[in-house]
Symmetry: C3
């Protein structure tokens, strides 16, 4: 079989051994540390005489399932656009996200236990009932509740965003190592923002999107491949791979309202977050189509823009969707995000590679990087405008420190801004460390001429192998004949 790289026996064992090692380690840590909480433990739940309808399951599970769909179907298929990297795109998404779910359960559990001295929910009867203020960043359990499942999926989302920047250029063992590192830094950054700085970021414009994007971009910079044009002919899509990618796009688009509302306060908080995200996404869709046609050859639309930039409206309200953004504000935010993102794909991505040596396969800088930063700044603005009048008694839920008089709106805004700064630092340092880790010479990376190619890691059905040297073109067949 032409084009298949010879790999040494040692490299052949990297993926299996790493999977087994990581799974063994997390299993031991689960045995030692992870327990059901009062929502999932039979004895604890029935200890107090409350209604089954109060179980947080009924308030969060539908949103969780939507988020879960986004991570595995949405991200997985969005990256299938490459003509012969579909198995890897959806398969490595599957593998690295599955590991990230386990690992972030532990990491987030530790971070959120640590700051309250390892208190276990079991000893806190006063938390047995759903409480309006209960939210992301206030959990203190190693596991066991809906929120831990949602948060683990969120963390996996950040890992997959970084994956998008290096798609096609790394092997599965490298991706698992990246996840190992990134999950820890994600947890640390999130802890600093949500628990120490008391910053609001329900849908993760900062903690998920900006963090994941800049982590991946810096990592991609460290892994820069000057000879990557050897694989250039595989970097495009084919007709049906673009349609598979649209499956990812549409599932991300429709469930993004659930993503931004999943961890907010119950009641009006979840409802408002979903509504704002819904409108923001419609606006980013319109602006993406407008800009794509405007900058396209003969006014033609570009599938890359539609697949990606139309989603920027979800990213940009990640911080502010639970605030009193207003539907009008959501439209404006989404419109700007779609515009910036589309223009980024057209004009900025080429520069990023030629000038800054950052090879960003999926353009995560355009979909998650810039819209994430914009979203953080929008959060600064909307938090700075918060008033008792606008939020009424709901201020307690959205900005508890403002409600208690411990912070002014301006101070909250400054904390939000500082949160963005912290995130960018964590992402950059983390991405650099990650790049150094992934450059370890014994790790099994594809050669420059075999990037974006499934055959390096997968058994590929026959008809596709024949095409390994380039796309099947009628001319070629003529020539051969």
């Amino acid at each position: 079989m032409a084009g298949s790289p010879r790999r040494t026996a040692g490299r052949r064992l990297q993926l299996p051994l790493l999977c087994l090692l990581l799974q063994g380690a997390t299993a031991i840590l689960f045995a030692v540390f992870v327990r059901y909480n009062h929502e999932t433990d039979a004895a604890l739940w029935h200890w107090h005489n409350h209604s089954n309808a109060d179980n947080e399951f009924y308030f969060r599970y539908p949103s969780f399932q939507d988020v879960h769909t986004m991570i595995f179907v949405g991200f997985g298929f969005l990256m299938v656009f490459l003509q012969r990297y579909g198995f890897s795109s959806v398969g490595f998404t599957f593998l690295s996200a599955a590991f990230a779910l386990q690992w972030s359960t532990l990491v987030q559990g530790f971070f959120h236990s640590f700051h309250r001295g390892h208190i276990h929910a079991q000893n806190l009867p006063e938390t047995l009932f759903p409480h309006p203020q209960k939210r992301r960043g206030d959990t203190f359990l190693p596991t066991g509740e809906e929120l831990s499942m949602i948060n683990a999926d969120f963390c996996a989302g950040a890992v997959l965003i970084s994956f998008g920047a290096i798609l096609g250029k790394t092997g599965p063992a490298q991706l698992l190592l990246m996840a190992l590192l990134e999950v820890v830094l994600f947890g640390l950054n999130e802890f600093v923002l949500l628990s120490l700085l008391r910053v609001k970021d329900a849908g993760g414009s900062m903690t998920i999107h900006a963090f994941g994007a800049y982590f991946g971009l810096v990592l991609s910079r460290v892994l820069y491949r000057p000879q990557l044009e050897k694989s250039k002919h595989r970097q495009g899509s084919v007709y049906h791979s673009d349609l598979f990618a649209m499956i990812g796009t549409i599932f991300l688009w429709i469930f993004w309202p659930s993503f931004n509302s999943a961890p907010t306060t119950l009641g009006d908080g979840q409802h408002r977050s979903a509504l704002n995200t819904y409108y923001s996404l419609t606006a980013s869709t319109l602006s993406t189509f407008a800009l794509s046609a405007l900058v396209g050859r003969d006014g033609r639309l570009d599938m890359v823009h539609i697949q990606n930039a139309a989603l920027a409206g979800g990213v940009v309200v990640g911080t502010s969707a639970e605030m009193m953004l207003t539907p009008f504000g959501a439209l404006v935010a989404g419109f700007l995000a779609g515009t910036v993102s589309t223009l980024g794909y057209k004009f900025f991505t080429p520069t990023l590679e030629s000038k800054l040596k950052v090879q960003d396969t999926c353009g995560v800088h355009n979909l998650h990087g810039m819209p994430g930063v914009l979203g953080a700044l929008l959060g600064v603005l909307v938090a700075g405008l918060a008033t008792h009048e606008a939020y009424g008694d709901g201020l307690e839920s959205v900005f508890p420190l403002l409600a208690k008089g411990q912070r002014s709106a301006t101070s909250q805004a400054m904390h939000q801004l500082f949160g963005l700064f912290v995130t960018l630092i964590f992402a950059s340092v983390g991405g650099s460390l990650g790049g150094l880790l992934l450059r370890l010479p014994f790790l099994d990376a594809p050669p420059d001429s075999q990037c974006y190619e499934d055959q390096v890691y997968w058994e590929v059905p026959r008809e596709h192998e024949d095409l390994a040297q380039g796309p099947l073109r009628a001319e070629e067949l003529e020539t051969r004949a």
Copy 2:
């Protein structure tokens, strides 16, 4: 590049300018008119001391997400069946539905505010608690509640049904103009039926399916292209495009119970609507397979029938699913709908084009038109049979005017019938107006020889372009060689 149409600079700008204009207009209208309601406004929600669990979010959001999936995944992929119109099918669905969501939020808001003199929910403390009678057609808010999101998706559904009739023969700017007009007429028709005639139509057999279908069919008649056979070779499917279309079919099928139950009364109403739809769909599936094999060459099944007619069971109980239809009634209705729809595809669609000059690309007459009318008539029948005995105290929820003694069952049935008549009028007049609008000579429509072809509006990956003159056939390759 052979086969690509030269378009003037003016035409190139049509889509971008129209997107920007429409987005600008809706944004301004949102700024002036759209406010959070008591379910989504932080201050209003916390004004009264009620439980977060009472927020309608928890009763409607899972259904909303299913409906949202149907609109964007279901309709989008159902139309991907054409061999080289996949980008346009899913892309223009995405664009026109995104615009329709914004625009119908405004239109429906205005219609439902108008008849109560612009009352805002904020002034109605008595509506702060979920109320059994609260439902589609009784909302009076420009935005802000689950129902407005569901209703906007319903309206987008009607637009996409009309799109199905003209699929492949119109450009995106034309589609946006069609949506602009159709959303207004949809809102007006719905207002007349639900608010003035007090007709029941939860799942929209009349307001969505019949309206959307006949609007699109009349519009397609006005846009009749006698030379369309120039694009005949692109009007079929290929193997994998049919599989993509089945993604659309299956997602529509599984979530249709949510579609018909999303806006009904809470409690037994939603539960009964979902159950009836579930059974109706199983029956239309069985009858579609039976009829497709019966009329097929050598007893072979036809994918077009399976992809479409199997869904007719959802359309036909759109009016009656929330009534006491009985599970048996649901089976009979679904069976009839699948039969009529399959026979329509086989025998009626060809006639429709040859005799009535209606070119119906997706056969919406068979899936939405006839089953929609059947569904309306079934609603007449089931409403006419309503008794106090059968509904008990639940009569108040389903037929409030009957419960209050203001109408007899026969009178309700007559109103239902009149509602169908009104719908057909609105659809026909609207479709005619729409056709005239879309025939404006400066609008960018594809030439007869370039219908059903993505390349007119999209950058298409290389390997597909080579095939632009016809499907790649082994014979052809032989010949060329």
Copy 3:
């Protein structure tokens, strides 16, 4: 058209007549026996003065929709991996599952009425309120509640598992007859386990997975085709058919937590089941990737393993997910299941065909058979370890007989083990009967040379027909030219 089999007029009518006959029969039985229950009947629901929020719809419907997605999208697309059997895979899944939903509504209704002497919910006002103990196996209604919809989908799942074993080797009329028989035996087996033996099996490791797998495997043995290698060239996948199959895999994987938790007790039971399944699946994913690379040529991953074995984690906790399995236990169980399943695909499936003459198209023995038996044994273990201390007052919900002192934990474990034994007996006898039924000579089965081929039963678009004799290979084109 070369390769298309001539079929007699009689065979042509088999599918239509069988569909019409079965639909007619179930419709009549629905008319006689099926009524709305207190959750769906307008009069019954409003008879007592309870809140609409209490309707079980709000506690089960989101889970139901996830299960529904798994059955039709998950199973349907998982089987699309064959290169030219995609229409049949997704189409016959659609048909046989739609019939199974109707038929199992009747069968399960009868079984669960029988043991309480045809009591109808309408006469039981004390059940008008959701009750913690209400669950799968305690329903006694012919229809009308969420549970009946979920249970009907579960039964359809078992039918589809059996379908997987004979995929490509049977016609649609044969599949309907198989469903006719299997649904009855499924209902009987479930009744014996859940209602007589009082065995726990919420996610159906025994009743769904082991039953469906061994039913299908024995049936496939009876239908053994010694000349099947005539269709060998069609038994593999192509690149895009593998991607379609991954749609099925991923939707099964993400919604499996809903599958195992859908019918459990409300509150902690549902929450715990979902959580355990979530972690088990992550572990089976990691072990599948590890083992697939370990046993693969040059360390390459095999799509068949990823598509299937990664799901074994859902199967293996089907019995124990609602018990106090612990998150650690879930990880270990999932890990083992993924390992056993992957090794089964690699080493056991070939033996199964060569030695035992069982041709298992989809490898259901590896995904449902062995993991199902493992899951049953895990249930024996976890039930045997149940203590009052671990479950507290929750013991009443999970193991009511233990709570009441009518059984010891060891006795419950023995009952669980006996349940597995009963299931294997029912499946084997049922599969044998099914095989004899499907071998009736007048039934329309594909010839050995036309297995795994859509053209036998479907109109297939032109470009695919040309390829009917084998996959299109560049060499072939060269030769022809």
